[in-house]
Symmetry: C2
């Protein structure tokens, strides 16, 4: 068994531990942020952590109403620009805490007056030392080059950050995420059987929208890193603005399609793809019978049923990425590749 698959299976524990052990620090930060509400938020990250940041960008803006942006590190590292960060909250996310450019954004932000938060898996990292507030993803060491458990752990921390910012997040919903993750892991066998069909797939598109847009990036990244598939990723809106022209008969497309607010924009996309003869695989759940009627699908077994003020769809990203991770691990196995050691990659990537 690959380390990647072993680490995918650890996610319910990682999520439960991160929530339990970080809540105290989160409550402390919540008090500080209530007294001193940031005017805007900047998220800085690379790779899988940047995909988690993309999720955070939607979650934080939707749940708090504070404008959020994703940092473009080269503005600081290459152009040496100085940006006005008064009243800003700047959050750096990095598994290793040693990402050179992410750390440099945090350092510049501190100099320019921002309050800084670090989210990392390594308690002794440069990032953990540098940030005003550090939160740990309690994933244990991540050995596979393909990150899985730190991605969902980072997402859990971003839910907690939304809570700390006074966002409409109920802790009761967060406490149920580990069991939803466990439910999603039950799909392992079904997905293993499905992967054979994609043995010779060499390119694809992954489509997501809103809170699951980041999952489209993350699934595509896993397919690129571990299966060497040329995997594009789009929101359904962006895909319609040009790139959809690449779709011909049998073109494989994966879609994240929970029920709720994003489905009315995904349904016409799916219908258009079928008209073009594309082969689609839809990730959905029991709450969306329409999606399940539209061809090949994976039904994520999580029973969300949140009673909070936000739509239930807000809690789908963690249970929805798990079948995608399982799929990438299974497809790498089918293709005879080792997902723990992709060619040309190492675990810590330093760039400026």
């Amino acid at each position: 068994m690959s380390m990647m698959l072993a680490e995918i299976r650890q996610q319910p524990d990682v999520l439960e531990r991160t929530l339990r052990l970080e809540l105290r620090g989160v409550e402390k930060l919540k008090k500080k942020l209530t007294a001193q509400r940031p005017r805007y938020i900047v998220l800085a990250a690379r790779g899988t952590s940047d995909n988690a940041a993309q999720f955070g960008r939607y979650l934080l803006e939707i749940s708090t109403g504070i404008p959020v942006s994703l940092a473009a590190p080269s503005i600081f590292t290459l152009y040496g620009a100085s940006v006005d960060f008064r009243d800003a909250l700047v959050v750096a996310i990095s598994q290793s805490g040693e990402s050179t450019d992410t750390n440099l954004v945090l350092e510049r932000a501190r100099e320019q007056g921002a309050l800084t938060v670090g989210i990392t898996n390594e308690a002794k990292s440069s990032l953990a030392r540098m940030a005003d507030h550090t939160f740990l993803v309690r994933a244990g060491r991540e050995k596979s080059v393909a990150a899985t458990k730190t991605y969902t752990g980072q997402m859990m921390m971003l839910y907690l950050l939304a809570y700390a910012l006074g966002g409409a997040i109920r802790l009761d919903d967060l406490r149920r995420i580990p069991s939803w993750a466990a439910d999603a892991l039950q799909l392992e066998k079904e997905i293993g059987a499905l992967a054979g069909r994609y043995r010779f797939m060499d390119h694809t598109v992954v489509v997501g929208r809103g809170l699951n847009y980041s999952n489209a990036f993350e699934f595509a990244l896993k397919l690129m890193e571990t299966c060497y598939v040329v995997a594009e990723r789009f929101s359904s809106a962006d895909f319609l603005h040009g790139p959809i022209a690449i779709v011909e008969r049998s073109f494989p497309v994966f879609l994240f399609a929970p029920g709720g607010v994003t489905w009315p924009s995904m349904r016409p996309m799916l219908e258009k793809l079928h008209q073009a003869g594309a082969e689609t695989l839809v990730l959905t759940d029991r709450s969306n019978p329409e999606a399940r009627a539209l061809g090949r699908h994976i039904c994520v077994p999580a029973r969300l049923a949140s009673k909070g003020p936000l739509p239930e769809e807000v809690f789908t990203p963690i249970p929805y990425i798990i079948p995608a991770q399982l799929f990438a691990a299974a497809l790498a196995h089918e293709k005879g590749l080792n997902p723990d050691q992709p060619r040309m990659l190492s675990k810590v990537t330093r760039t400026l």
Copy 2:
């Protein structure tokens, strides 16, 4: 000849006209913004206009030090969130001015207290009526579905917006951009001859960095729309964080590689690609002899030589996208495709 190619050739005139006719309105806005400096900037757009916005994101943050973000329209259109836009400048960019979701972001931003700017090619559009300040890209009607002249026209307007915000932009440099565009058009014949080599290319990666990151998106979009090539796009830093694993022998990669601040991060990327046996085509210019020594390249003939406070590389994006547009038009011709009417696309795309 395709309308796309005809419109590519019009760009020096479009750029000169946009600069000349919009400068007065820009000076007026400059006075207003000097008295009332925005706290942050949000850019909203889709498709090619969103690629121009990506350029604007870097340009405005580098030249003004005001934080900039790219809007995620679904936060407003699907999640109905309300975001605090006091003291914000919100800029909507749309060729037609009829992009439903971009316009809705602008409407919500106005309600929440933002100052709004519209950049469009259509004086009578909904966007032109709705924005507090409207600037026109003077491109004349754009008939080809594949946008070219409106992309560079929008970029010119974003330079002017940086100037209006007190950014370190000299009008003298902007006045020379039309002639740099004319110089770049001289490459048409050379690129036409080169395109045959790529007749059977069905996938690729385009790499850019900093100010030319948006050009990587735009070149890839043209290759997808007009040549049906599965074209990924990355910054050199993001490419190293995982996706580079897809590169095998003969994998085609296009790189925007001007001299200056981004080159030290592009050079090791290019060397790594050569070690993996990839086939690279580098877009560069006379100021970067190192890039020209590293294999197949297109030498953009613009003589930038700015005397302003910003690095010259800041003015490369317009002359650098023109050979890429010419390449896409020539490759579509080689493949027997009509770039003016890609399958499944129409000129105005309405999405929510």
